[in-house]
Point group: C2
């Protein structure tokens, strides 16, 4: 399908690269495509970034039938533009669509839309260390109807946001709170879909943890409150002895692209990585026995987020003396190196879209 | 706070009362109020019903921080306008707001907004048997920011929709499917909040059940898949012997206004009503012993929805020979009678807003 183009004759001034923050600035263009009942996905268009007008009865406001994705474009030192494993995000977008009863979107069209949009807004990609252009594809229900059912019409948009360095004050370990009261998701629910409601459901726990001085919560499983699931909006890895553990995908955990890349990278470097259920008790026991070596989160925003302390039932679990571990540091350097083109991409993970 | 008013000089023609359906037609006016960071809820206004314009980065599209309510206004035979227990919906709206980290809204202002809006659109309230004016208050996050946190700005709207008789083809029992794969909510989650994500999460199970010929699913608890929770978007009641049971409110079940009214009405009529955990096994056993007398759902849309069959693991549980039971019928007549002013309101549940 050809992507239409409407030129923006009223371009914005670009923000200062040192004050980008995250998700606050948006570029000159966006991609928009509609799903029309009986016609399918139609009118893919790159057009000036502009407000969306919706009837107050639009289903997205009431029943939250929606999914999104998040990935980044990086500017290399030699001015090429790289995407990191976009096909994984596109696969997951359609997996989320299937769970939320939203019609599938052609994979190649999504990749083309992302690539063309990033190219047209290429000047917005920052080049300072740690910066990137965050890409946010999202789909939502647009039927003008107040009643619970799947919508017959949808909108698919892609917007772009230049984002600053996540670790602007250095690559420092975070303090996390192990959440026992609130639950993010449960098997049989929509935890593995990247859908709005999962994030809305996480806000209260996250905000209470922030007030107590923690940067994230570690979610336990919804059924038994016994197995670790995710940390904030990231996947989690635990190094016990020489083995690196991460929760297996049971349906309530997001299948993270950085999680998957971390597993592959670690295995290629000779580490033993096991995906299985992990109880909070065995983490406490490992720390007691001196075998708990490192804990880190993985996600698109932070890439790798080392954990220095976890708090459970008022007790502190100190990890690696509260310092960044070797594995976390090496992973961060390797992954960000591949993403930005500074480290050779042996895995074929990046796509150069500047050609 | 005074509510502003902007006149609509371009009124719509009204739909045929016999073809109203549910949630498809909207009136000439809506209520709108903004929450501005640092200022609170400001500019409450009744204005012409019109599209909302939002930046594509508005948080509601991405993270679903939103809540809604549903209640009805009824036109009596002598042309008065009644609301049914609106204070309960208003209380629940603020309970949902608290769970979703949305700022509380003044209770009296909400009631005033509903009453004035219904009055200005009074001509839209249908008067045929079973019809009413559905009232949909809703709140959603409006920060232009792509990142997971609570929004600093919100919109609160109220829209109105004239709705047809729910039982246009007679008050007939429904067939429900007892869901064992998908889960709606779990303790510690947001199941008791009337928030968009809960409804998005229900669509797949509901749509698969519809394809199998069922009108609703009966949800089991998320942790053990053992206790009954809700049916579709309604609460559920089970009559075993002379006792009427309904699931207790554990945090994953909606605190329904019709549920509460049903309990109070049944108790006032001398029935023993018990709120407790109910296993699916005891329902099957009761049917086997001939003690399962009636099953019905309660909710704003249908008021009372008698259940004729429930299917569990491929087996049919037939209830009262598939016919409407006496208790269901009596409750439906009493509740709809009170709501429409045909039956004396001994409980003081209705508010006449036409005065």
């Amino acid at each position: 399908m050809e992507i239409g183009f409407i030129e923006n004759i009223d371009k914005k001034s670009k923000p200062n690269q040192n004050q980008l923050g995250f998700g606050q600035h948006f570029t000159d263009y966006m991609f928009e495509m509609d799903y029309i009942d009986g016609e399918g996905w139609v009118n893919p268009t790159i057009k000036p970034y502009a407000p969306i007008s919706l009837d107050p009865s639009a289903m997205v406001f009431h029943y939250g039938q929606s999914v999104f994705e998040g990935l980044k474009a990086y500017r290399t030192k030699d001015d090429r533009v790289l995407l990191f494993r976009p096909e994984k995000n596109i696969e997951r977008l359609n997996k989320s669509n299937a769970r939320m009863c939203i019609p599938e979107i052609d994979k190649e069209l999504i990749l083309k839309a992302i690539s063309e949009l990033v190219k047209v807004d290429k000047d917005w990609i920052p080049n300072q260390k740690g910066t990137s252009l965050y890409i946010r594809p999202f789909v939502f229900a647009t039927d003008y109807y107040v009643g619970v059912r799947q919508s017959h019409n949808y909108k698919f948009l892609i917007i772009l946001s230049p984002v600053g360095a996540y670790y602007s004050e250095g690559f420092n370990p975070v303090k996390i709170f192990i959440e026992q009261q609130y639950v993010r998701a449960v098997k049989g629910g929509v935890g593995e879909a990247k859908t709005a409601g999962n994030y809305a459901a996480s806000i209260k726990a996250q905000s209470e943890a922030k007030e107590k001085g923690f940067s994230q919560v570690l979610w336990l499983d919804g059924a038994e409150h016994k197995y670790i699931e995710e940390v904030g909006a990231m996947n989690i890895f635990i190094m016990i002895g020489e083995e690196i553990l991460t929760p297996e995908l049971t349906g309530s955990i997001l299948d993270g692209v950085t999680r998957r890349s971390t597993i592959e990278l670690l295995r290629a470097s000779g580490y033993q990585v096991t995906e299985r259920k992990i109880t909070i008790d065995e983490i406490i026991e490992a720390q007691f026995n001196g075998r708990l070596k490192e804990v880190f989160g993985t996600g698109t925003a932070a890439v790798i987020s080392p954990v220095g302390e976890m708090w459970f039932e008022g007790q502190k679990i100190l990890i690696n003396g509260g310092e960044v571990g070797n594995v976390s540091q090496k992973l961060y350097d390797q992954l960000t190196g591949i993403q930005t083109g500074d480290v050779e991409d042996e895995f074929g993970w990046t796509i150069d879209i500047s050609k």
